[in-house]
């Protein structure tokens, strides 16, 4: 704990010195008397420092929240010796805002007393924060001496991207062997009828199609389509972003990735993630609730890392990018390296879909409205249209999404054009 003279103490010293000087110069005894209260206020500087006997504890109401949700931070100060004045500066991470109460408190605590203070924060954007540090400044009774310290008790908070419910999803072309929700072209166990054939030894009686059997005069059985799951890899473009936090293209991309991951995991698919940027991070495809936590954690931390180096997807292990997986590239197409990587994946036979997160609206929202801005945005839109047409020509399906319109709308638009898309519900 650092002890020092407060600015108030320095001010009192300056004024006291001024009073004494004027007293000597003018020879008026009143000025000595006027300096007396100021000098008496400085006496505690010469006294022994009081014992600092207090304890600070703080609690954070939740460890994980979604964007826009509130978190309450409660701080308790317990003092064994009296504290004339204590100032506390609670955590206020970048991007958060105080919605209730104040993140700074000034309080007096009596001997054996307890003081509590709380405030609420809202996090408009995703991220991982530590709400564990509280700056503490304790003052003595006269206010001329202060002790400063930091109370650190790690309280991590994860702010996950918001999830939009999705009904239409890009359907994988190649299902896996495990049981899932996709109707496979192959026959086997399932509930979706496929065909009928003559009864053969070994067929179960419950498979007999009695209507067909009566009409054709011999036993026929119904065959069903197998229902399988798929591997889905979300490839997030973290090479560049446009717009203002928390409405940047990367923020929207992360929200789209979280929504897609949730929807696919609900359909028993295995979902993985590749953050394709200055640093390549990945999450191996898997299913279940734990996988959602892994993906949400990775998405909450996703950020742009600038680099001039073109990253090669060959560094990604095959278990992260399984053959025949459907790869959904989520990108604003600001960096040509991502488009090249997408073409590389398509050339290697991956079932690739590109979700194009338009940066035009995000950029326009960050700029002052003017005719020049409108013209620039229109030119940019035309340029992007040409780039998307080039991807179409290369045979890569592109879903155009213009945030803040709902992602479902973009998927539904594409569903009308592409028969590969099926309803998830």
């Amino acid at each position: 704990m650092t002890a020092r003279v407060t600015p108030l103490g320095l001010s009192i010293m300056a004024v006291a010195g001024c009073a004494l000087s004027l007293a000597v110069l003018s020879g008026r005894p009143e000025l000595f008397v006027a300096a007396l209260p100021l000098l008496l206020a400085l006496v505690p500087l010469a006294l022994r420092a009081p014992a600092l006997d207090h304890r600070i504890s703080h609690e954070v109401s939740r460890e994980r929240v979604f964007e826009g949700e509130r978190v309450t931070i409660s701080v308790t100060v317990t003092a064994r010796a009296p504290i004339p004045l204590i100032e506390l500066l609670g955590p206020l991470p970048a991007g958060s805002a105080v919605v209730s109460g104040r993140h700074r408190a000034v309080m007096t605590v009596g001997a054996g007393g307890t003081a509590r203070w709380s405030y609420e924060l809202v996090f408009p954007g995703r991220g991982v924060h530590d709400l564990g540090a509280i700056a503490v400044r304790r003052r003595d009774r006269s206010g001329v001496r202060t002790w400063e310290d930091r109370h650190v008790d790690s309280k991590p908070l994860r702010v996950y991207p918001t999830i939009a419910p999705l009904r239409s999803l890009p359907r994988p072309a190649y299902p896996r062997a495990s049981i899932g929700d996709y109707v496979s072209p192959a026959f086997g166990e399932g509930i979706e009828p496929a065909d009928i054939r003559r009864f053969a030894p070994g067929d179960r009686v419950r498979q007999v199609n009695w209507r067909a059997s009566l009409r054709l005069g011999e036993l026929y059985v119904t065959q069903h389509h197998r229902e399988r799951n798929a591997d889905v890899v979300l490839m997030l473009d973290t090479l560049a972003e446009a717009g203002r936090t928390p409405e940047t293209t990367l923020d929207w991309s992360v929200r789209a990735a979280a929504s897609l991951a949730t929807a696919y995991l609900a359909r028993k698919d295995r979902v993985g993630l590749i953050n394709y940027g200055g640093l390549i991070h990945w999450v191996k495809p898997a299913g279940g609730r734990t996988q959602y936590e892994r993906l949400a954690d990775a998405l909450a931390r996703a950020g742009v890392v600038f680099t001039y180096v073109a990253k090669d997807l060959a560094v990604v292990p095959p278990r992260v990018l399984p053959p025949r997986a459907v790869v959904i590239g989520i990108t604003p197409l600001l960096d040509a390296r991502f488009a090249r990587a997408a073409l590389d994946l398509a050339a290697r036979g991956f079932d690739l879909v590109v979700l194009d997160v338009s940066p035009v609206a995000a950029t326009r929202a960050a700029l002052l409205p003017s005719p020049a801005t409108d013209l620039a945005c229109r030119l940019w839109t035309l340029e992007r249209r040409a780039r998307l047409a080039e991807l179409h020509r290369q045979g890569i399906p592109v879903l155009e999404w213009q945030p803040p319109e709902p992602l479902e709308l973009a998927l539904a638009r594409a569903r009308r054009r592409r028969p590969r898309l099926v309803a998830a519900g």
Partner: protein
């Protein structure tokens, strides 16, 4: 609301020299001090407050010197207390700005200020009584030298206070 207290104190400090010597230069200097105090109160800025206190002090000295009035110990102690309260109340106003404030903070400050004021007035009275008793047998020629030595002694004591406060080893709260 909390800024009304320093504003009232500043007004009183500006008025005191004008009451002693109602002359235009004294009034103009008081207005200059008041202007600095207004800046300090509005901006919660400490150094204009210190400057305002110094200006009030210079104005008070000038008024006393020009008026050549009888020594008023209670008034001088009150003026000194006013300077101290001005600095403290401005400091408190800055501290509680945009902070969750416990009402006990204001209560304890007011109580401490009242107690300190009474103690200071008592100490001033005692000091003047002792000084009066000592001044009688002392030759008048020694008085300025004694005053200067006293002032130097006080400044030296302040320096010692500051040095000790800065050099004291850190103290950690017990777990």
């Amino acid at each position: 609301m909390i800024r009304l207290l320093p504003a009232a104190i500043a007004a009183a400090l500006a008025a005191a020299p004008v009451v002693i010597m109602p002359e235009p230069p004294i009034a103009v200097t008081a207005l200059a001090g008041l202007l600095l105090a207004t800046v300090a109160i509005a901006a919660r800025w400490r150094w204009p407050a210190t400057a305002a206190a110094a200006v009030f002090l210079v104005d008070y000295t000038a008024a006393l010197w020009l008026a050549g009035a009888r020594v008023n110990i209670a008034g001088a102690a009150g003026f000194g207390l006013g300077l101290l309260y001005l600095l403290e109340s401005l400091d408190l106003a800055g501290r509680v700005h945009r902070a969750a404030v416990d009402t006990a903070v204001i209560r304890s400050h007011l109580g401490r200020g009242t107690g300190f004021g009474a103690a200071t007035l008592g100490a001033a009275g005692l000091l003047v009584a002792v000084a009066g008793a000592l001044a009688a047998p002392m030759p008048p020629a020694v008085a300025p030298i004694l005053a200067a030595a006293g002032a130097l002694g006080v400044v030296a004591i302040i320096a010692v206070f500051v040095t000790r406060a800065a050099a004291r080893p850190s103290t950690r709260p017990r777990p």
